[in-house]
C-alpha cells in the first residue's frame, strides 16, 4: 500500500500510480468489448419491434389469460411421458456413468495415461452439449418420440453424474481401503466393501439431483420432437393457442417445483 506525501500530508492509496493506470486500462478494454458486443446486437435487432414490445406483451397476456383449464385432460399422458423420460434417462445415465467415473478417478483408474483421458473426454463432451442438441441428433437417427428423449437425457446426464461421482471417489478415505487390502481382500472385495460404501451417499445424492434437473430438461425436449409435454407446448405455440400455452406453462412450472421439493426431501433423508 503506497503512501503519497503532498504538502507534508500523508495520503494513503490503495495502488501505485502505475498499478491504477493498468487497472483503468483493463476496465477500458472491457468496456470497449462490451460496447462492441452491444453494437452488434443492436445492429441485428429490428428496433421497430422492440418499441412495439409493450403492446405485444400486453396483447399476448390478454390472449393467454385465463388459461384453458379443461385442456388439462389432454396433458395427463404427456406429463407421464415427461416423467418417464427423466427417470429412465437418469437410470441409464447412472449405469453408464459409474464405470466412467471409476475410469476417470485418479485412484481407481486402470491406466492414468490411456483410460483416464478418454473418460475425461467423454465427461466433457457429453456435458457441454445441451440435451436439446442431443435430442435433435437422436431424432435424425432413431426418429421422433419418447425413446429419442430418453436416450438424449441419458447421454446428456452421463458427464454430469460421472464428474461428480469421480470427484467423490477421489476424495474417499484411503485408510479404509488399506485396511481392506491388509485383510487379504481381492480387488473386487475392496471395491465392494472399501470404496462403494464410502461413495454411496454421494451417489444417491447425485442421482436425485440429476433426476430433478432432468425433469426440467425433459419438459422442453418436445420442442424438437422428442416426446413429453414440450410437444403439446410447441403444437399450441404453432397454432397460437395462447390459453393452452399458459396452461402448459403452469403445468411445467408445477412439475418443476414438485420435483425440486421431492429431490430436496430425498437428499435431506439420505445425507
Amino acid at each position: 500500500m503506497p503512501i503519497r506525501e503532498t504538502d507534508s500530508q500523508k495520503i494513503w492509496q490503495r495502488r501505485t500510480g502505475r498499478e491504477s493506470l493498468s487497472h483503468w486500462a483493463m476496465w477500458l478494454v472491457g468496456l470497449m468489448i462490451f460496447a462492441y458486443c452491444w453494437q452488434q446486437i443492436s445492429q441485428a435487432t429490428t428496433w421497430f419491434f422492440v418499441w412495439d414490445a409493450p403492446r405485444i406483451a400486453n396483447d399476448i397476456w390478454t390472449r393467454a389469460t385465463p388459461p384453458k383449464w379443461d385442456y388439462i385432460a389432454q396433458l395427463g399422458e404427456p406429463i407421464w411421458d415427461t416423467l418417464n423420460i427423466a427417470t429412465l434417462g437418469t437410470i441409464i445415465a447412472l449405469f453408464l456413468a459409474v464405470p466412467i467415473a471409476f475410469f476417470a478417478a485418479r485412484n481407481t483408474t486402470p491406466s492414468a495415461l490411456f483410460v483416464r483421458p478418454i473418460a475425461l473426454l467423454i465427461i466433457v463432451s457429453t456435458r457441454s452439449i445441451n440435451s436439446l442438441i442431443w435430442a435433435l441428433l437422436l431424432i435424425a437417427i432413431i426418429g421422433p418420440g419418447v425413446f429419442a428423449g430418453v436416450i438424449a437425457i441419458a447421454i446428456r446426464s452421463i458427464g454430469f453424474c460421472a464428474k461428480l461421482l469421480y470427484e467423490a471417489i477421489e476424495e474417499i478415505d484411503e485408510v479404509q481401503v488399506e485396511a481392506m487390502t491388509a485383510t487379504g481382500a481381492s480387488r473386487w472385495q475392496v471395491m465392494a466393501y472399501g470404496i462403494v460404501p464410502q461413495i454411496m451417499p454421494a451417489f444417491a445424492g447425485i442421482a436425485v439431483f440429476r433426476w430433478d434437473i432432468n425433469i426440467r430438461e425433459s419438459t422442453v425436449l418436445g420442442l424438437v420432437g422428442a416426446g413429453g409435454i414440450g410437444l403439446q407446448l410447441s403444437a399450441s405455440l404453432n397454432v397460437l393457442a395462447w390459453p393452452q400455452v399458459s396452461l402448459i406453462l403452469l403445468v411445467i412450472l408445477a412439475a418443476v417445483v414438485i420435483s425440486e421439493w421431492v429431490s430436496a426431501k430425498v437428499r435431506g433423508a439420505i445425507i
Binding site: 399476448i60 418417464n84 427417470t87 466433457v124 457441454s128 436439446l132 432413431i142
Partner: protein, 273 residues
C-alpha cells in the same frame, strides 16, 4: 451374560451381513416392488419403431464418421457469424446479468436487507430459476421479434437467478466480525458494503461469474433453435439438411470452447482464492 454368550455361539460361523438401508422389511419390499412396477410401466409406454431405428443406424454411422472429417469450410461464413453471435450474446448477457444480480443478491441476503426488500428479491430469484431458458426465449422472441436481442435478454435474466442466489447465500454466511468493525468505525451503509462485505465475497463472485459465462455460452448454442440468435440456428439447419460433417464441426467447436473456458476458469479461480 449367559444370553449374550449363547447369542455369540449362534452368530459364530455365520458370515457378516450388511444391515439394510431401510430397517422395516415391509416398507423396504414395498418400495423395491413399487419401483420395479413403475419401471415396467414406464418401459411399456416407450414405443420403439425398430424398423425406423434400423434405417436410422446408417445415418448414425454417418454422423459418427463425420466427426473424423468435420467440414469447417462449406458453411464457414454461417458458422463464423453464428459463433460470433453466440459469443457476443454470451459476453453482453453475462456483463449485464452480473451487474444486475449484485444489487439483487444484496437485497436477497437477510443480514443486509430489510424484510420487504428481501422478499421482493427472493421472489425475482425464484421466478428466474423456475423458468427455463428455452421457455423464456420463446416468450421473448414472441415479444421482441427474432434475433440476438431476445437471446441476450434471456441469458441476462437466467444469469440473475443463478448468480444472485449463490451470491446471497455467500453474503449470508460471511464473517460478521469484519463487517461490524467497519461499521464501528462510523462508516456509511455504502462504505460498509464496500469495505466490510465486498472483500469477503469477491473471490466467490468472480468464480461464480466465470462459471456462469461458461453456462451462458452452452445455453446460447440452443437459443437459436427457437429463433433467439446464435449458433443454434446454423446447427439446426445442418441437422435438417443431414449435413452431418458441418454439424460435427459446430459440435467440436462448442466442445473446444467449453473446454477452453473451463481451463481458463480453473486458472483464474486458483489465482483468486
Amino acid at each position: 451374560m449367559n444370553a449374550s454368550a449363547s447369542e455369540l455361539e449362534m452368530r459364530l460361523g455365520k458370515p457378516w451381513k450388511k444391515p439394510p438401508f431401510i430397517q422395516r422389511t415391509w416398507l423396504r419390499w414395498t418400495l423395491i416392488l413399487g419401483f420395479f412396477a413403475y419401471l415396467i410401466a414406464a418401459f411399456m409406454t416407450i414405443e420403439v419403431d425398430w424398423a425406423r431405428v434400423y434405417v436410422g443406424l446408417e445415418r448414425g454411422k454417418q454422423f459418427v464418421l463425420a466427426f473424423t472429417s468435420p467440414d469447417f469450410t462449406t458453411r464457414s461464413s454461417d458458422i463464423y457469424s453464428g459463433m460470433l453471435e453466440s459469443i457476443i450474446m454470451t459476453v453482453a448477457a453475462s456483463v449485464v446479468g452480473i451487474i444486475i444480480s449484485i444489487p439483487i443478491a444484496l437485497g436477497a441476503a437477510r443480514n443486509v436487507a430489510p424484510l420487504p426488500i428481501y422478499l421482493i428479491c427472493r421472489g425475482i430469484i425464484a421466478i428466474s430459476r423456475a423458468l427455463q431458458e428455452i421457455i423464456v426465449a420463446i416468450l421473448l422472441v414472441a415479444i421482441f421479434g427474432f434475433g440476438p436481442l431476445a437471446g441476450f435478454l434471456t441469458l441476462s435474466f437466467a444469469t440473475i437467478g443463478f448468480l444472485s442466489k449463490l451470491l446471497a447465500e455467500d453474503i449470508e454466511s460471511m464473517d460478521k466480525v469484519q463487517a461490524e468493525a467497519i461499521r464501528a468505525s462510523g462508516a456509511r451503509w455504502t462504505q460498509w458494503i464496500n469495505y466490510g462485505v465486498q472483500p469477503q465475497v469477491m473471490p466467490r463472485l468472480i468464480g461464480l461469474s466465470i462459471y456462469r459465462v461458461d453456462i451462458n455460452f452452452r445455453e446460447s448454442a440452443i437459443l437459436g433453435l427457437v429463433g433467439a440468435g446464435g449458433i443454434g440456428a446454423t446447427l439446426n439447419t445442418a441437422f435438417d439438411r443431414y449435413e452431418y460433417d458441418t454439424a460435427a464441426a459446430i459440435l467440436i467447436m462448442i466442445i473446444v470452447i467449453v473446454m477452453a473456458l473451463e481451463y481458463i476458469s480453473g486458472i483464474i479461480r486458483a489465482r483468486v482464492q
